[in-house]
């Protein structure tokens, strides 16, 4: 295949979306059942309504706040544990099985435990996001810091960088940054899932709560109108981190 310019890619994407929406609209009008498949125009009307009433902005800001706090805590915990596992074989063999298990367990399965232990308020929701997002960060820190850039550490020392902590951040973490950001991108994707789970299975709130409550009212057009910003949120965060990755990558 020929390589495509950015403009051609953009054109292909727009044409694709238009075809998809046209087929949707035609199918919806043909079915004529708002409960099963609302038409694109009905979804847009519902979206507009949510936007005007302020309901969407409120829910979205609540969700973003939850996601930001959750990802921040995941990064701190993941970094500390990852660094520990990278530098100590003992820590690696002791902790790794638990992290592998946590990575493989669907977050939703842990929700009842979180509910019992931390309640259904904000702390409980943050814990759910952390459970979903912490493992990729920890894995990426562990693998990124394991290949020790020994030559570059020598260079830094010879020119006067002193102390293990300074060497860790100025050389080791910087050298591992592309790997760490890839881990963060993966974590953000899982974090969005964790966020939606927390908002629908603990006390309702945010975008997840919006989807759940309109779902139980069988207002399918409003459900679609709420799913849309959730997807957009996920795409935006992941592509922002992708942009950071390109910024800090060197080859």
């Amino acid at each position: 295949m020929k390589t495509r310019s950015n403009r051609e890619i953009r054109r292909d994407q727009i044409v694709g979306v238009l075809i998809f929406l046209t087929i949707w609209e035609i199918t919806a009008r043909f079915l004529d059942n708002k409960l099963v498949l609302p038409s694109v125009s009905q979804i847009m009307a519902a979206f507009w309504d949510l936007l005007i009433s302020g309901e969407l902005i409120l829910a979205l800001s609540e969700s973003i706040w939850l996601l930001v706090v959750g990802l921040f805590i995941s990064t701190v915990i993941g970094f500390i544990l990852g660094a520990l596992v990278a530098r100590s074989r003992t820590a690696y063999w002791m902790l790794n099985p638990y992290f592998s298990a946590l990575f493989a367990t669907p977050t939703i399965a842990l929700v009842p435990l979180v509910l019992v232990w931390f309640g259904f308020g904000f702390p409980g929701r943050v814990i759910v996001v952390v459970l979903a997002a912490v493992v990729p960060i920890m894995f990426s820190v562990a693998s990124g810091l394991r290949d020790d850039p020994k030559d570059l550490v020598d260079v830094a020392r010879s020119f006067g960088v002193k102390g293990e902590l300074a060497l860790l951040f100025r050389v080791r973490v910087r050298a591992a940054l592309p790997v760490l950001l890839a881990g963060l991108r993966l974590a953000a994707g899982r974090g969005v899932v964790g966020m939606a789970v927390a908002e629908t299975y603990l006390r309702l709130g945010g975008i997840g709560g919006l989807i759940k409550s309109y779902g139980s009212l069988f207002q399918t057009d409003y459900v679609f109108a709420s799913i849309l910003p959730l997807s957009l949120l996920g795409i935006t965060i992941v592509s922002l981190i992708g942009r950071l990755e390109r910024r800090f990558h060197w080859s």
Partner: protein
């Protein structure tokens, strides 16, 4: 008093001894890498170190740079014992040692910023050195965009920009193709002619060892020791004539090869490399 100052060597090594453990275990066997090295390096003198692999020359250089500590003995810079890397000594690394995420100019500015030079001053010093090695067009390039020879020019510019008067060079041209190496050697001669640096330069290349040096230090292995110190009596500036055609060059080179050859043959007779 003034004479005494002039006589103080730039670097002095007193009874350097270094052993290495063969593995991480507590009771692991140790090897003696360096055994009782006493040496001094005069100010402005260019010393090349040559010897079979495993003779401890890189370890010796790392000890001089304070990247490693000796088990016994002291390193003195200008008569003072040093235990940490310092601004008077700058190192040039075999694999260039450039930070791949930094541009050429940021790599050169790195040591200056560490020493708290103001941004503007660091930048102008860096630009000056980058110009001197002929890379001004590549200031904003990343190392992976440059050839090996160009990367080592950056490594050299970085060391020179620190203003250090002692250059520690660990086989700096070993990873560079032969023709570029010739150019780099010429450049090295020129730099040493212009600013009198004290240079300690490790090499595997006999020609290079003789061509650049005021003095060649021949080391032997098992354990690493000073085998011989040979003065190179070739007129300077050396970039102005064909050093290899000079009689003294052939003599010193011939002698060095004879000694090294014997050492290598002994080694292979022992059945280890």
């Amino acid at each position: 008093m003034k004479d005494a100052m002039l006589d103080t060597p730039a670097i002095e090594l007193r009874g350097i001894r270094k052993t290495f453990k063969l593995s991480e275990e507590r009771n692991a066997k140790t090897v003696l890498a360096l055994d009782g090295i006493d040496l001094s390096f005069r100010k402005g003198e260019f010393t090349t170190i040559i010897g079979p692999s495993g003779c401890g020359k890189t370890t010796l250089l790392r000890i001089i740079a304070s990247l490693e500590t000796a088990d016994e003995g002291d390193v003195l810079v200008d008569g003072d014992i040093v235990t940490e890397p310092g601004i008077r000594r700058a190192m040039v690394f075999q694999n260039f040692g450039l930070f791949p995420w930094k541009t050429v100019i940021d790599n050169v500015m790195f040591p200056l910023k560490l020493r708290n030079f103001p941004e503007e001053e660091a930048r102008s010093k860096a630009i000056k050195q980058i110009k001197q090695v002929g890379l001004e067009k590549f200031s904003d390039a990343h190392p992976h965009q440059l050839s090996g020879g160009m990367q080592q020019r950056v490594g050299l510019a970085r060391a020179l920009a620190t203003g250090a008067d002692i250059l520690l060079m660990d086989e700096p041209f070993g990873a560079i193709d032969a023709q570029t190496r010739e150019l780099m050697q010429e450049e090295m001669m020129r730099i040493c002619e212009e600013e009198k640096k004290t240079v300690i330069f490790i090499t595997h290349d006999l020609d290079e060892a003789v061509m650049l040096a005021d003095r060649v230090l021949l080391m032997s292995r098992g354990p690493g020791k000073v085998r011989e110190l040979i003065d190179v009596d070739l007129p300077r500036p050396r970039f102005e004539y064909d050093v290899r055609a000079h009689k003294a060059f052939a003599e010193v080179r011939g002698h060095l090869w004879h000694e090294l050859r014997n050492d290598l043959i002994e080694q292979s007779a022992e059945g280890k490399s």
